[in-house]
Point group: C2
Chain length 585, copies 2
């Protein structure tokens, strides 16, 4: 029981030296990767670079205690950084103390929300984001993020919360581009693009073994950082307009308090909720993918608690919203991390870096960080999905497109909301028009099939309707209309059989519709019968007076129903209770 | 085509004298009933009484042109009047010009919304309101409305937007009750309660035939109005603190313009949308019930246009939001109305009344109108539904209770929103945990049943999973978890068969989950097979590479799948394309 909420108690019991070695190795590699990434994503979030480091220490320790994934690496990620910038930018100017406070408060609110949802076991809410909506959002976010960083490569000032604004702002300022900045940023970007795919083979050609070449290639950003720092110092580019990171306060994260200003919380709770949902969905997808590779399991509800604790920790240590990132988790996994302890060791590495390494980063050009971001996020842009969706399902394609367009045009928050709404509306629309068919008997069998698709036997005075959906409030109105329409179109009909083989549930609205249909058919002297009602559905119906009031019978099989009503062309059906008394129902 | 949007063109063609006579008769009866009702509901909406008359003229004519119900009587109704009071009261004080303008603007916005939804054929949105939510909302509204009118019976000042506020406000002022007002209001209320049930038998005992007694009993409110006017005049009660209607402007409705103030529209659009949805749902339910009695049909999408036109007409003629009312429609139906022309004639009757009758109403006590309202709305309070829902479905009961509590405590708008949200959340919660079963073969048959419910045959290396739900984004995550859990719990498993007989659709997220399952099972050397995939679902799957990448086969029947895999205890299954080539899939 206790280990459900503290997974560390489970894996901690079998922790030994060999696991420790694996975890330490993985932690060293992830730390090297995480330092430039943390700085870059803080920049993307509009925050001082050191905040990115702060967000990569305590949250990792908390996830190691509460998280259920063995290999997930938590910290600042691109999409959540963009969302943070959007939300904090709406309440304060970048660089102000209020902006930082808003970012910290977002982490705190998001942490509380995640933890509460986890305690309520409400992970199912993440289902609201369908795959097409998530992929549309990630693609559009990638485009937005890459566009937002172009200014740093050019060394100009530009802004904008959505794509048209960003492009317009870039177009105005592009002629003021700083050549020295471009001379740093462009090669850095090209190198990073190349090293992603070309780094490993090149290192292998130099004689390195495959695995080492792979790991070293992943340290490409570190090489870019070191190299561009050297160039800036050597040519004194800081004085020639190349913006650099500058002085980073040395030391461990400070203790910070989220704001308790209710007016601020009222403005931030919706963005915090969206950050929570997006962060959770991204993190759980990564965690599930990696867990499956080693036949491990994660607990989606406990993941909410793990991420909640991480975000609360981020807020209390001066950081900003964090979640499980794809790239770093994959590196952690590949580097051989065995338990969440690897995350705690990484936290130690980052803490050492923020204690001792930060002076070395003084001359790091912002353009290099921007190049890291651009290269990282362009891999998020997925151009194959729209075509695939178009071929498979127009509705899913529509949800995907709406999400992309809304995110690009109206920004990340409205993008998520539009995506969720479009998905729900399309779902409700389909749910309100379920599939149903008039069926007839396949000759010489007991099977009943759609009269439009098969050669089947029917009689004019009996209509058999197969409903291929549970009867819920979303289709209750449709059910009434559909059944009464079928009857209105067949004046000779004396018996209606609802074949319920695909009806998995009937809610109170569905029941009321059945009662209304029964009542209206009864007024016209038409019998309503049910066939093949599933056990649990019938159990529930028997708690009501429906079966007694039914203007017809409940049959175990469609074949029996049809056979019995086949010859009843004359009298209206006798009341159901006679059959009840004879035990026929 | 044209008659789809103008149903009048259809029924108008066969209009003759006998229909005219029926319609005229019904119109006279409904007019008599509608005059006190219109005044009363305007009072409930916090508007001058004459606005109720205005809302009962032009809207009825427009509905006669655009509506599809033969017998629906449109006009002010109790619940919508309460919602109007709540929305207008939030932006202006009762009695002010701004309050009236807000009410008119609500009618206009609601009319536009309804008409647009109708043109988009988006009537399915009304499905968002389940039966338990509607009945909860109506019950709570009835309680709120009755409570809000007690002050008029007592002759005191009280207020409040929700039940606790109303009760508190009444408790404070109750000692200032005006005895003369109570002497009018209390007997009027008791008389109206009695006449509902006891009026018809009493009149029959006096020798009237059944039908006439019924109609006359329905005119009870008119008798109460006439009698209390006489008492007020006879005893000069107007001077003794009994509030009366006072001077009502004589004449036809003025031409009015809804506000074009964007700030006002921004405040009113949400309440206008809620008024539209509630009004539409109430109206369509009444129209469908009455249409079914005469085996007629209504068109739910065209009803949106009909009600939209009525509300735009209400706005332009100084009225407030209208919809089809239950009581008056039933009277119209019983009185023999044959076509919507009866509504147009009723409009003529109300117009005559507002031209010539209004001076007679000067001394009508407000207490009488309040008594009419209280008696009318208490019949909306349904105390049987909670128990019925509790027995049938706890989830529906929860949605019902949440709606009632939210409406009573937080008012009508939040009540509707809470009801819709609770319904959706419960639906999503259930949809994210669909029913599924591990199945085995019933001995000596081709049937496969749940292993927990039946004695069936299984083998350890094959697990057959029947999914009783379409695979959509709401359960995609569950599907992955469920299947992989079943496999994780059975280390000997070499083949997984997903029995898809109840899978009516697979959306893009469902497909991605299947692909992920296929991939993960493949990593473990386990075959994934599908059986009994429905035709349209398979057609769609064939548009993708799923079948080719499937790490197993697609079988027409579960029996064939099980029979073939039964003996395959050794080797991993051959790739699917071999079977494709042999035409086995």
């Amino acid at each position: 029981m206790l280990s459900r909420y503290f997974p560390v108690l489970e894996w901690g019991r079998t922790y030994d030296r060999s696991v420790l070695t694996s975890d330490l190795m993985a932690a060293i590699i992830v730390t090297i990767m995480l330092i430039p990434q943390s700085l870059a994503y803080a920049l993307l979030a509009g925050l001082p670079p050191v905040v990115g480091l702060y967000a990569s220490i305590l949250p990792l320790v908390l996830y190691a205690i509460f998280g259920t994934s063995r290999t997930l690496a938590v910290g600042p990620v691109a999409v959540v950084s963009l969302m943070t910038a959007s939300a904090a930018g709406a309440v304060a100017g970048q660089g102000s103390a209020a902006y930082l406070e808003a970012a910290i408060t977002l982490a705190f609110l998001s942490g509380i929300m995640l933890a509460v949802l986890g305690l309520l076991r409400a992970g199912f809410l993440a289902n609201l984001l369908s795959h097409p909506v998530i992929s549309g959002f990630i693609t559009a976010s990638g485009i937005l993020i890459a566009t937002s960083q172009i200014k740093h490569i050019l060394g100009i000032d530009a802004g904008g919360d959505n794509w048209p604004e960003m492009l317009g702002s870039l177009a105005i300022a592009v002629f003021e581009a700083n050549p020295w900045t471009m001379a740093i940023g462009t090669p850095a970007m090209l190198f990073l693009f190349w090293v992603r795919k070309g780094g490993k083979p090149a290192l292998q050609r130099l004689g390195l073994p495959g695995r080492a070449a792979d790991m070293l290639a992943k340290a490409g950003p570190v090489a870019a950082v070191a190299l561009t720092i050297a160039v800036v110092i050597a040519f004194d580019l800081g004085d020639k307009g190349v913006r650099v990171v500058g002085a980073i306060p040395q030391g461990l994260p400070p203790f910070a308090m989220p704001s308790t200003d209710l007016a601020l919380i009222e403005k931030l709770w919706v963005p915090a909720l969206l950050i929570s949902i997006i962060g959770y969905v991204e993190s759980v997808s990564v965690a599930q993918t990696l867990a499956a590779k080693r036949r491990q399991r994660i607990s989606p509800d406990q993941e909410l608690i793990g991420l909640g604790a991480s975000n609360i920790a981020a807020a209390l240590s001066g950081g900003y919203p964090v979640t499980g990132g794809f790239a770093r988790s994959a590196v952690n996994f590949d580097a051989g991390a065995q338990t969440p302890a690897a995350g705690a060791f990484t936290a130690g590495g980052i803490a050492l870096a923020s204690l001792f390494l930060t002076p070395l980063l003084f001359s790091l050009p912002i353009a290099t960080l921007a190049a890291t971001i651009i290269v990282a996020v362009l891999s998020l842009v997925d151009l194959k999905t729209p075509g695939r969706l178009w071929r498979y399902s127009k509705a899913d394609f529509a949800a995907h497109l709406v999400t992309i367009m809304a995110t690009l045009i109206a920004g990340v928050e409205l993008g998520v909301i539009a995506g969720i709404s479009a998905g729900l509306l399309l779902y409700l629309w389909r749910a309100s028009r379920p599939h149903a068919a008039i069926v007839g008997r396949v000759p010489e069998t007991e099977h009943f099939r759609n009269i439009d698709r098969h050669k089947v036997f029917t009689v004019p005075h009996v209509v058999s309707i197969r409903i291929d959906e549970s009867l819920t409030y979303l289709n209750a109105r449709w059910l009434e209309e559909y059944v009464l329409e079928q009857v209105a179109a067949r004046p000779e009909v004396r018996h209606v059989i609802l074949m319920c083989s695909a009806v998995n549930a009937i809610d109170a609205s569905g029941l009321e519709s059945l009662e209304a249909i029964n009542h209206r058919l009864g007024d016209g002297g038409i019998g309503l019968h049910l066939s093949e009602v599933k056990g649990p559905v019938m159990d529930r119906l028997n708690r009501t007076h429906f079966a007694e009031e039914l203007n017809g019978k409940v049959f175990l099989s469609q074949d029996r129903a049809f056979a019995e009503l086949l010859n009843d062309t004359g009298e209206p059906p006798p009341p159901a209770d006679q059959y009840l008394a004879r035990g026929l129902i």
